[in-house]
Amino acid sequence: MAPHTEQLTRPAVRLQGLTRSFDGRTVLDGVDLEIPAGQFVALLGHSGSGKSTLLRAVAGLDHEVTGSGLLTAPERVSVVFQDSRLLPWRRILPNVLLGLDGRGAEERGRAALAEVGLAGRERAWPSELSGGEAQRAALARSLVREPELLLADEPFGALDALTRIRMHALLRELWKRHRPSVLLVTHDVDEAIVLADRVLVLDHGRIGLDLTVDRPHPRSYRDPLLSEYRTELLGALGVVEDTD
């Protein structure tokens, strides 16, 4: 393969035999995974299956965790956490600009806030925002850095159902506009199916199922064709659906 074509097809994320363990207990047991640039991937798994451990490894946040394996990730990585994690002592705009400098940073911050529907709230304190607004500010903070890879660890887990649906639409729209690779950790099968083009199930420390969801967007929760995916995913998670 010629060097330049390899450049073009090089995946954004590549894990080879990624192993992580805590106190001798293996949580990730040789995970192999490639995520092409610009792909929207959801990672499902039971609570405690190691989703966060995997995401933190990719984010480079697991300094004191024992493990081995090869890991390639792009340079510009942003992370969205389950909590918005806004610094309570900074107003919204400085929070969005955290760690960013150079000319035009402030303009970009304002634009990012406008993109998530928070124009005019630049000078608000984090404590003045609702949960959904705070999470949108966190999204703005991650997007303003123009990441090649966006990692999100159950970013909507703490939101109410209505807000969550609106955040799904927003995230998908932002992804369409900026095209980062996305690795979205969730425990919500429906969220995974509605948002992602590829859904992985983490099971016993490995990728137990790698499913491509080939349906056009925007997707509806009630799309009957999606229920096949749902059944397959729930099966992989060991959940038997009630059929009545």
């Binding site: 946040l61 992370v79 956490f81 610094l87 002592w89 955290l98 760690g99 960013l100 903070r141 850095r145």
Partner: protein
């Protein structure tokens, strides 16, 4: 084909209008601040004191009337004694406080930001704290002589301990999630300190600062009354020998004003700097 949709959802019978008077929830926060609230208590005490004196219920040799104290104060001020003593006292407290403040903050940062610093500093300060500082006075007189240096040193120690302890505790208590965020956002170490560490530790620092301010006055009073040849405490000590209770009260009033003014300044700064916090006291 016609789809027949039968709605099985029956509307609940219209609820009878609620006719109870709307009851508000009991507010648990103390509510709005009264105007000039911090002055109300002292003014009341002053009024009672004046009334008792006017009614002749107080022995003027033990507790002179407020106007006597005021007249003595004006007199001491115009002949220059009071101003000189106040300047001496303020200088002692000021130097001691400035040194203690700097030492407390620098040590807390060094011990909060590096494990080596913590190993060297924290245990030492905890040990220092176990010894009541005023108990060090004899030793310090022996080391530094009975001049100004030893007084400033004692005040500095009294001040640095609460500032160190509270700032260090606040540094240690900074939410680990914010450290993680700083890593994700790629902050440099200096920027991490400026954006996360310092603002996160400020509430604790202010608690320490207020204790330090109080401590500096306490140290000052004790030091000046034990062994001084000038300063407010000396003035009061002399007055004891001559039975001048009005002079003693003038000294106490000045000490009180010192304490009140410095505490108000700290509160004011604290409220501006920590304006992002919404607590019961706001």
């Amino acid at each position: 084909m016609t789809a027949v949709t039968t709605s099985t959802v029956t509307a609940a019978p219209a609820a009878a209008p609620d006719e109870r008077p709307r009851t508000r929830r009991r507010a648990l926060a103390p509510g709005r601040r009264l105007p000039a609230a911090r002055l109300a208590g002292p003014l009341l005490v002053l009024a009672l004191w004046a009334a008792a004196s006017a009614a002749g219920r107080l022995d003027p040799a033990a507790i002179p009337a407020p106007w006597t104290v005021l007249r003595t104060g004006v007199h001491l001020w115009t002949d220059g004694t009071l101003a000189g003593d106040i300047a001496t006292s303020l200088q002692r407290a000021g130097y001691g406080f400035a040194i203690g403040l700097t030492a407390g903050v620098v040590l807390a940062l060094a011990s909060g930001l590096s494990r080596t610093g913590e190993a060297l500093i924290d245990g030492t300060v905890q040990l220092n704290r176990a010894i009541p500082t005023l108990g060090l006075i004899p030793l310090f007189i022996l080391w530094l002589g009975i001049g100004e240096t030893f007084k400033i040193a004692i005040i500095a120690i009294v001040v640095y301990i609460p500032i160190y302890l509270n700032t260090h505790a606040a540094l240690a208590g900074i939410d680990h999630r914010f450290v993680e965020l700083a890593e994700v956002q790629g902050l440099s170490r200096a920027r991490f300190v400026r954006e996360v560490v310092v603002p996160g530790a400020l509430p604790g620092f202010f608690v320490g600062l207020r204790l330090g301010v109080t401590g500096s006055w306490l140290g000052l009073v004790v030091l000046e009354q034990i062994n001084a040849t000038s300063g407010l405490g000396y003035l009061m000590f002399q007055a004891t020998n001559y039975g001048q209770s009005d002079v003693i009260l003038v000294g106490l009033v000045v000490y009180g004003i010192f304490g009140l003014v410095s505490d108000s300044v700290v509160r004011l700064v604290e409220r501006r700097v920590l304006s992002w916090r919404r607590t019961l006291s706001s």
